[in-house]
């Protein structure tokens, strides 16, 4: 069943085309990866879905409800949680307060302070921050700061979770833990759409992969299909020498 439907999405910044006629669907319970070289427009797509940018044209439907023109807090309350590529925890709030803020305001209907606090504590356990709830973000490792990002996105009980490069900058052990976490989230019923650069991760956990290049979708399919697609290989590695000389 389709959860998110993106149709002919386009976004320009001045003369620069960031996203051009991109369409795709994400089904309930899937893990879908969005990959592409630097500057391909991946984060722009996330910003369009979460309402940070307004698309120039095209549609974004969550459960058949149009999200175009909605502001970020409204999109959040409709059930889309997201993390940021560059971690942005609130520096003067503890881990617990960081995550609780999201639970207090992102949920519809609203929940009480007490309930938010209880849920936040459970969530901190789930993402592996159980013993660091009273710490301030600046005293935490990169991996733990990414955990805050994920916990904040999860605190709204999202239907759809957008993860923007949560695995980059992690050690192999930490990446392994993060993959386990993503799998566990899916088992709990969250649909996951992620941007990732670490190919091992993409190949390992994705049900489907969408490839973006210069703002356009050039391929879509299972990880094996995509990995063997000549257009994808060209986008990532360039053309073969003989071909380009023809």
């Amino acid at each position: 069943m389709t959860l998110l439907r993106v149709k002919d999405l386009s976004k320009h910044f001045g003369g620069l085309t960031a996203v051009q006629n991109v369409s795709f669907e994400i089904h309930r319970g899937e893990i879908v990866s969005l990959i592409g070289p630097n500057g391909a427009g991946k984060t722009t797509i996330f910003n369009l879905i979460s309402g940070v940018y307004t698309p120039d044209s095209g549609g974004i439907l969550l459960d058949n409800e149009d999200l175009v023109g909605r502001r970020p807090f409204e999109v959040c309350q409709k059930g889309i949680g997201r993390t940021f590529q560059i971690m942005q925890p609130f520096p003067h709030m503890t881990v617990l307060e960081n995550v609780m803020t999201s639970g207090l305001f992102g949920r519809v209907p609203k929940i009480s302070m007490r309930q938010a606090e209880e849920e936040t504590k459970e969530l901190c356990q789930l993402v592996g921050l159980g013993d660091k709830q009273k710490a301030f973000p600046k005293n935490l490792t990169v991996a733990d700061q990414k955990r805050i990002e994920i916990a904040r996105a999860l605190a709204i009980k999202p239907k759809l979770l957008l993860l923007d490069e949560v695995m980059s900058g992690l050690t192999p052990t930490e990446t392994g833990e993060a993959i386990k976490l993503v799998r566990r989230l899916r088992e709990n019923g969250t649909t996951i759409f992620l941007i990732e650069h670490v190919m091992k991760v993409v190949m390992g956990i994705s049900d489907r992969v969408i490839v973006l290049h210069h703002g356009e979708k050039i391929a879509e399919g299972t990880s094996t299909e995509v990995a063997n697609d000549p257009k994808v290989i060209k986008a990532y590695l360039g053309e073969k020498v003989e071909e380009s000389e023809k």
């Binding site: 940070v52 807090f73 609130f90 709030m93 307060e97 609780m100 305001f105």
Partner: protein, 315 residues
């Protein structure tokens, strides 16, 4: 963000309340007048700090103060509304004005709001001077002394309002509003993506701030018996509103209170010894605080002084 009350706090608060109730019997009339002026400043400092909690710096609190002051004074002069009701009317009108100003300007991020607030207060001052038939113009408006000059009653009125402001700040601190305000201050974009409507909470903070600042203005006009546009809409009032909380410590209940007591003490001392010295003091304090103690006196106490009195940990 702790909501539990200990017995110690309850006893301390009760003792403070009793002291405050009997305070006018202890001190002389002049000192009582100083206390009233200090409480008035505390109300304005705390109100400014409420808005500052959302990361917005208002440099035009005088605009709201003046609206409150003139509403109360003119209502009394024209239709003889009882002073306390006039103050309430002033508070409400200031809130309405803040709603329109905030709704238009609080969508913008950064320095725009601060600039707009200065322009707002200055514009009001000019409008007042240009419409003397309605506003009294440069001659100002005068009213008879509040409560027939009974300072004790004035003291109790301002004490109640101050207690109310502190209670409201405490309510904000212990509710979900605190999370919204702090999140917006720390990172508005992220707060937005987490389900917080930044404009809504910034406007709300501004409305609360405006209500009490407007009330303070209304009280001032009746207590002082005479107001002129240069003074009540003046930059001096706007600056005072922000120096006191910054000095004491931002985003706390005690910060604006402590800051106000010290600044008023300095001001009173300089008033006797060195005219207009307090304005120099404001400037110096701002520079020193911003450079050397960004968390104000409270931060200085918590980080530097308080640890000196603690027993060193034995190894």
């Amino acid at each position: 963000m702790n909501r539990s009350f200990s017995w110690k706090t309850v006893i301390l608060l009760s003792a403070l309340a009793i002291f405050m109730i009997f305070y006018p019997k202890i001190v002389d009339s002049y000192f009582l007048h100083l206390t009233v002026a200090t409480f008035l400043a505390m109300i304005m400092a705390s109100s400014w700090d409420i808005l500052a909690r959302t990361g917005q710096v208002s440099v035009g609190q005088a605009g709201l103060f003046g609206v409150g002051a003139y509403t109360a004074a003119l209502l009394y002069q024209r239709v003889h509304i009882p002073p306390v009701l006039g103050m309430l009317a002033g508070a409400i009108l200031a809130t309405v004005v803040a709603f329109f100003l905030g709704y238009l300007t609080l969508r913008l991020r950064g320095i725009y709001f601060a600039i707009t607030t200065i322009a707002f207060a200055e514009a009001l001052s000019v409008i007042w001077l240009m419409t003397p038939r309605i506003t009294g113009g440069a001659m100002g408006v005068s009213t008879p002394p509040l409560f027939n000059g009974n300072r004790e009653q004035a003291y109790y009125l301002i004490l109640i309002i101050l207690a109310l402001v502190i209670f409201v700040v405490w309510l904000i601190e212990s509710s979900r509003l605190n999370f919204a305000f702090t999140a917006i201050r720390e990172n508005e974009e992220v707060a937005n993506v987490m389900g917080i409507n930044p404009t809504r909470y910034k406007v709300l903070a501004f409305l609360i701030s405006a209500f009490f600042t407007g009330f303070a203005g209304g009280f001032y006009s009746h207590y002082n018996t005479y107001i002129i546009p240069y003074e009540v809409f003046g930059l001096g009032i706007s600056i005072a509103c922000l120096v006191m909380p910054i000095f004491g410590g931002l985003y706390t209940i005690a910060g604006p209170i402590i800051g106000t007591i010290l600044i008023k003490a300095i001001e009173e001392y300089l008033r006797v010894t060195f005219s207009y010295g307090h304005q120099i003091a404001y400037g110096l304090i701002l520079v020193v605080v911003v450079l050397f103690m960004p968390e104000g006196l409270l931060g200085l106490w918590k980080r530097k002084i308080f640890p000196l009195f603690k027993q060193p940990h034995r190894v």
